[in-house]
Symmetry: C2
Subunit: 262 residues, 2 copies
C-alpha cells in the first residue's frame, strides 16, 4: 500500500531524508506538483524566453536565483538539491546518471526552473467526474512528439511540441476544454483534438513516452501541451549540463492545485 | 474630429510616415494596444524574470530577437523603430528625449518587450455596459504608486507596484472582477478593492499619473496592476538606456483584444 503524506512539506522532508525515492502522483493530494529543469545561468535567458513564447507546453511557475537552491513561491524554502525524490543528469544532451540527491553537483552558476504539470488540471477533471483514462487504467499518461513546432528562442531552435493525450466522448471533451482553460498557468486548454495525423502522430497506440490507453468507439483523443517539451528543448539544444526530475518523480509544493485556477 | 483607422496596420503605417504622432486610444477599435520597453540585451534576463514574477503588472506579450526591430506575434513584421507614434528615451533612469522615430538610436545589442495594456480589458468592461469612469469623463485613467512591493529579480529590486483605478458600485465591481479575470494575459483580475490606505494610497483624489476621476457615494475604488510598473522598475534600476512609448502613444497590433481572452 502506498504511504501518503498530509502535505507537500512532509513529502519533501521524506525525500530529503531519502525515505521516499519513488514517484509522487497521489502521495499528497491537492498539493501542486511541478517539473524541474536546472541549467547553467548563461542558458537561463534563452530558456525563459522559450517558455514565454510557448506557454502551453512550458508554463513557468517559479525561477530560482542564480546559485540558490531554495524556493520561495511554490514552497517555503524547499531545497531543490534534496527535496525531489529522483533526478536525471544530462550532459551535452545525453543522459548520464540518475540520482536521489544532487548536492554534490550543485554549482554557483546554475538556475532552476519549476514548470507546471498536468497533474494539476487532472485533479479538476476528476473532480468533475470525468473518466481520465490513464488514471482509470492505472498507467502513465501517453505522450507524443508532434509536428507542431515550438516558437524558437535563442539556442532553442526547431523544437517539436510534446503533447499528452486523454480520450473523451464529445460531451466530456467539451467539458475538458472548459475545465482546463481555467488553468492557463498549467498548460491551459488543449492544443488539438480529433485526428492524430493532423499533428504528425501516425500511430496513436504507440506513444513516444508513457503508456498506451484504450480509446473507445466514438471517443476523440484530446491533446494538451506537455511538460516534457522543455526537456525536449534542452536536449535538442544540448546544454553542457541539465538536471531534471526523473519522470513521475516531481517536485511537490506547499501551494494547492486550486491556487492555479484563475 | 479624431481620424480613425480600419485596423492596426493602417495606424502603424501612418505612424511610420509620421502622419500620426498623437495618442492611440480609440483610433483602431478592437485591435490590441501594448506598452513598449527597449533595453540593452544584458538587462533582458533580469527584465523577463521580473515580468515572470510579477505577471499582473507586467504581462509580457512578445519579446524581440536581440538587435531585430521586427515583430512576429502581435503584428506581422511591424517595425518597433518607426511604428509607434511617440517614444521616450531614458538614460541611467533619467528622461532625456521624446522622439517620433528611434531609427537613429537603434543598436545591435538591444531587446524590445511589448507588454499588455488595460485598454484591452476596458473594451470588455464597456461591452458589458459598465461605466468606466475615466472614459465617461474623457480623461486619463488615474494611476498610483502603492506600498505593494513587486517580487525582485536581478537588478530590479524594491520596485513598488503601480496600479490603475476604476470606481464601481458593489455589483459592477463584482462584474468587473469576473470580466477581467478572463484576461490573465493583460493584467487579469484586480489586485485590490476598497480602502486605498490599505495599499499605501493616502489621497485617492491625487493620482501619481493620469487624472483624478469622480468616485460616487457607495462606490468602491477597484485597483488593477498597471503597465507603468515595468517602466518604474527600469527607472528604479537605472539601466544605461531604456526606450519606452510615450504615455498613451501605444503600439497597436494586428491581433484583436478578443484574442487575449482565455
Amino acid at each position: 500500500m502506498l504511504k501518503t503524506y498530509k502535505n507537500g512539506k512532509d513529502l519533501r522532508d521524506a525525500c530529503r531524508r531519502q525515505e521516499h525515492t519513488g514517484p509522487t502522483p497521489g502521495l499528497a493530494t491537492g498539493y501542486i506538483q511541478a517539473n524541474l529543469a536546472v541549467l547553467p545561468a548563461d542558458w537561463a535567458y534563452d530558456f525563459l524566453l522559450f517558455a514565454q513564447r510557448n506557454p502551453k507546453p512550458c508554463p513557468v511557475l517559479e525561477v530560482g536565483e542564480k546559485g540558490s537552491p531554495f524556493t520561495a513561491v511554490l514552497a517555503d524554502r524547499a531545497d531543490i538539491r534534496t527535496d525531489i525524490p529522483r533526478y536525471r543528469i544530462y550532459e551535452d544532451g545525453q543522459l548520464q546518471d540518475e540520482l536521489t540527491d544532487i548536492s554534490d553537483l550543485w554549482r554557483d552558476d546554475v538556475v532552476w526552473f519549476l514548470l507546471g504539470c498536468s497533474f494539476t488540471f487532472e485533479q479538476a477533471l476528476l473532480s468533475a467526474s470525468l473518466d481520465v483514462r490513464h488514471i482509470t487504467e492505472g498507467v502513465n499518461v501517453p505522450m507524443y512528439k508532434t509536428n507542431i513546432m515550438c516558437q524558437s528562442a535563442g539556442r532553442f531552435q526547431n523544437v517539436p511540441m510534446v503533447v499528452s493525450m486523454r480520450p473523451f466522448g464529445p460531451e466530456d471533451a467539451i467539458r475538458a476544454v472548459e475545465l482546463t482553460r481555467d488553468y492557463p498557468a498549467v498548460h491551459g486548454s488543449p492544443v488539438h483534438l480529433g485526428d492524430p495525423g493532423a499533428i504528425g502522430i501516425n500511430d496513436i497506440s504507440r506513444p513516444d513516452w508513457g503508456d498506451s490507453v484504450t480509446i473507445r468507439e466514438g471517443e476523440l483523443p484530446v491533446f494538451w501541451g506537455c511538460g516534457v517539451t522543455p526537456q525536449m528543448a534542452a536536449l535538442v539544444a544540448k546544454p553542457p549540463l541539465m538536471i531534471t526530475h526523473a519522470p513521475g518523480h516531481m517536485f511537490v509544493g506547499d501551494k494547492k492545485d486550486y491556487d492555479y485556477k484563475i
